[in-house]
Assembly symmetry: C2
Homo-oligomer: 233 residues x 2
DNA sequence: AACGGTAATATGTAGGTACATATTTTGTCA
DNA sequence: TGACAAAATATGTACCTACATATTACCGTT
């Protein structure tokens, strides 16, 4: 008697995945219940559940209690991005990291910042403008607003030695993150700070974080020309 | 006797998460074994396992068999991106979608394309240049190379009606995806096609896919001015 | 038909056991 | 001391059971 090798949840996942992509189940179609698939494949329902969870996470299917599992009608390519601390990023690329605080100020947050936080009422915030350097050359220019109501500690920090980026990542967990990328053309001020020609195309990374609904920080990181964001590796 | 409400894996996760961020466990520190945590919290090991998996997925800790669980020394902010089919994207934004094939050609893949695929030896590929429109105005310009050795079917497709984007997403599953974003300045040709001033800052999305190591397609999607990529909704 | 409450049902989660697997640690021998 | 094999160990996976929860589906009433 040869014992058939047990099915792993990856096997189950791949099997379903194949069935979807060979057209056996099309967009919007409902798949059998986990229990039935489990019986079909002769494995435990928990194994099917694990497989389905993974397919759901990767955006291929949608699952709803009692509603069952259906193939997502609009396929998406889903990818995971890792954005390291800027210091780590520079060092990992073999550069010598440098940091320079440009200005630290307090003011009522402008409309754009409030809108990033999805706030209606104006409130005072701390603004930190700083430059990250790689081998003494400008790497990323960051324009950050921090909400002191959520992070009172920043009143005692001047961010001349340690970047707000680093301090926040190490000390301020968040429950919600909003990321966006877009391109801008370097204006005069930015071009001057990044030592780049006026009109250069620059990637901007905007990041906003909240903890349980309370705004922590929003930052506009303007990268030097040629900067790339990439997945994996 | 009040029965204490059972701990969910989310509770466990949040508890560990807090402990890490209050400094109870610092970067590089090793956490107790799952079994011990389970005993401490009076829950099943499988619950702790689930919690730890999630923390591992979100980049906060690293787990290794026998090595145990340790706090990641270099914190990263990890985010998930959904990139929909361009047609869906346009329609979801309330625009009327249009598609226009510019050119379909065959040639040996240039060095840049081979490098994207991590290939050494040149091989012939199909190139598809096309324009996606929103309300009859240019939205995304895509310059795509497809490997016919991996997808022989494309020999029979002319991509005049359906975009290669759509066909591939629906018919070509991939096992590996490489994504990168960067900014470019519109040259004359691109500016003409996107109906944008020369020198405008544009976001580029490069996407390369493989199936089990075999190259499928690589595409450079040049977006119109003001285009943004963002997480979440 | 329209409404509303109830039952039916598929997925989600927790508990528990057993074994698999990947590493590290230890121990032995040259 | 070094190399290699064996033991120890923490996480990973599979199975099963029981119950929780969110919806959908159904049915009776108006």
């Amino acid at each position: 008697m040869t014992t058939p090798p047990r099915l792993s949840w990856r096997d189950v996942r791949d099997r379903i995945h194949d069935q979807i992509l060979t057209g056996q189940y099309g967009p919007g179609d409902r798949l059998p219940r986990d229990a039935d698939i489990a019986e079909d494949l002769n494995c435990a329902r928990s194994t099917v559940q694990r497989a389905m969870q993974d397919l759901s996470d990767s955006g291929l299917v949608e699952r709803r209690r009692k509603g069952g599992t259906r193939v997502r009608p609009d396929p998406v390519t889903r990818a995971t991005l890792d954005i390291p601390i800027t210091r780590r990023e520079v060092e990992q690329r073999g550069g010598r990291y440098g940091y320079h605080l440009i200005r630290r100020s307090e003011a009522d947050a402008p409309r754009a910042v409030l809108s990033a936080f999805e706030l209606d009422t104006p409130r005072p915030m701390v603004r930190v403008e700083a430059l990250h350097l790689s081998d003494s050359r400008p790497y990323i220019l960051e324009d950050r607003w921090i909400c002191p109501r959520t992070s009172p500690e920043i009143r005692d920090l001047d961010f001349t030695e340690q970047s707000a980026n680093e301090w926040l990542v190490h000390n301020k967990p968040y429950t919600r993150l909003d990321l966006r990328f877009y391109a801008i053309s370097a204006g005069e001020e930015i071009a001057g700070l990044l030592e780049t020609p006026v009109g250069a195309a620059l990637m901007v990374i905007e990041r906003t974080t909240w903890i349980d609904g309370a705004p922590i920080t929003t930052v506009k990181a303007i990268t030097r020309p040629g900067y790339q964001i990439q997945t994996g590796s």
